[in-house]
């Protein structure tokens, strides 16, 4: 032993060295708390500020009226287009990612195909949205000669969101315990029947939460749509169902009014648009949780 154990050693921490490291510990803890609180405050500040700026712009006329080069324009068609593209995108994205996710999670055995698919999804996920938008420009606007179309925008957005929705699907399926699958197969069901009748209903809550959250992201997307869905709405038919037409969304309108156009009341329109976007995103966020929880309860009888 290097030294004999000292005789009387007190238990309280007034030795200089100890005080130093307790002080460091306390100071560090306080700093981390401040950082965490600052994030919450930042969020509150953002939301409050956007409400403060934009609340005055909100009116029925603003929300439903057409945009205009002069003062007094509204964002009606843009809101319509945002939903239109959202629905169209989901119409493509949900089936494909659901199918691919089910395949990877329930069927695929480890091997080359599975790894390549997984890698493709990961790679697709890292493509920056502006680059994806340019790919859409290349294919739909140039090569297909469609020009700017809502459909082109939706297809581009599909590619952008496939990996995310796939991951949501896989995680939702993984959360279903194997005992359910075993019970179903033990009763003589095929794998497909098991998936459709047992696994999917169990996972529906988490799936829906994921889909609604991604819907929120789609609603606010800009970079992938600027060069595919375009920057304008048709003056004569602002609310139409034809997907082969230029379709400026609310998010793009916000960017466009600020950067390129020269309308006199750009602040009013911009603040109002920003606030509407924020409200929609908050709504999607809350809806995702609420609907997801309700569905889980309905289909499984449990709360989670």
């Amino acid at each position: 032993m290097a030294s004999a154990v000292p005789a009387a050693r007190r238990l309280a921490s007034d030795a200089a060295g100890n005080r130093g490291r307790h002080l460091t510990d306390a100071v560090a803890t306080v700093i981390l708390w401040l950082m965490a609180v600052s994030i919450i405050l930042m969020l509150i500040a953002f939301i409050a500020y956007l409400f403060y700026l934009g609340f005055g712009s909100l009116s029925w006329q603003f929300l439903t009226g057409p945009p205009s080069q002069q003062a007094g324009g509204g964002i009606g068609p843009e809101i319509y287009n945002s939903f239109y593209i959202l629905v169209l995108t989901l119409a493509f994205t949900v089936p494909i990612s659901l199918a691919a996710g089910i395949y990877l999670q329930e069927y695929a055995r480890p091997g080359l195909f599975r790894s390549v698919v997984q890698f493709s999804a990961e790679s697709l996920a890292t493509v920056p949205s502006i680059v994806m938008g340019l790919f859409g420009l290349l294919i739909f606007v140039f090569y297909f000669h469609w020009g700017f179309t809502a459909l082109g925008g939706a297809l581009t957005m599909t590619l952008l969101n496939l990996p995310a929705l796939m991951r949501v699907t896989q995680e939702a399926l993984a959360s279903v315990p194997d005992s359910l699958r075993e019970a179903s197969v033990g009763l003589g069901a095929t794998k497909w029947q098991t998936v459709v009748r047992t696994v999917l209903p169990s996972a529906i809550g988490r799936l829906t939460t994921g889909v609604v959250l991604i819907a929120g992201r789609i609603f606010g997307e800009t970079a992938a749509l600027i060069f595919t869905a375009g920057l304008s709405v048709s003056a004569n038919h602002p609310y139409e169902l034809n997907p082969f037409r230029s379709a400026e969304t609310l998010a793009i309108h916000l960017w466009y009014t600020h950067s390129e156009s020269v309308i006199p009341d750009v602040d009013r329109v911009g603040n109002g648009s920003a606030l509407v976007l924020l409200i929609m995103v908050l709504a999607f966020n809350i809806a995702a949780r609420v609907v997801g929880a309700a569905l889980t309860k309905r289909f499984t009888g449990r709360s989670s």
Binding site: M1, A2, S3, V5, A8, R9, R10, L11, A12, S13, A15, G17, N18, G20, R21, H22
Partner: protein, 261 residues
Amino acid sequence: MIEASPASVDTREKLSAANVSVYYGSFQAIKNASLKMAAKTVTALIGPSGCGKSTFLRALNRMHDLTPGARVEGAVMLDGQDIYAPDADPVIIRHRIGMVFQRPNPFPKTIFENVAYGPKIHGERDRQRLATIVETSLRQAALWDEVKDRLNRSALDLSGGQQQRMCIARVLAVEPEVILMDEPASALDPIATSKIEDLIGELKQDYTVVIVTHSMQQAARISEYTAFFHLGEIVEIGTTTNIFTRPREKRTEDYITGRFG
């Protein structure tokens, strides 16, 4: 609960628990346990699994502070001072009362860094002194010869038995007065186990050791005193010899003779 004071042994108390109760939320895991542990002896805590031996052990160095929802009542005296006093510093307490865990838990660092970790956090900076402390501790843990040429390699490369001895060296490096061991050999093979038991025999010359073990044979081999736990209570305390040959409580006797596990 019976307390037997052994005849010709030095009863200088190093560590003593007085009416210790441990609660997890509203569940009481340890009920009013009192135990005196004499200096430079080995006290074994035995009993069936789940009876609270480890929970009691962890109350002796305030490890329950780390578990949210855990509450300790009663007092634990180290050299006459209560470690649960409001102004007592857990950091110093754990310096003086060290712990070896059931599974070896080396840090993902080199062997040297692992053993030097304790002295460093307590303020030792001099490289020479650290090197000396590391060598001394590894020698005490009977590991020096096996690792002296690879101190700068990762501790994770060692075998299970070697890792556990390194963890013991790590504790020795902070020069504690008491060493708590929570089933230190249960994850090891018989050869490694016997090395650890030999080590404990050496250690008790300088340290007070309290060891939780599920093996009665091990308790009989290495300890002077034994406390038998059952359902969160200390049922009987005595010299190891007495506990195993002349138990006073029926429950003790039932456990010793294998009537329940």
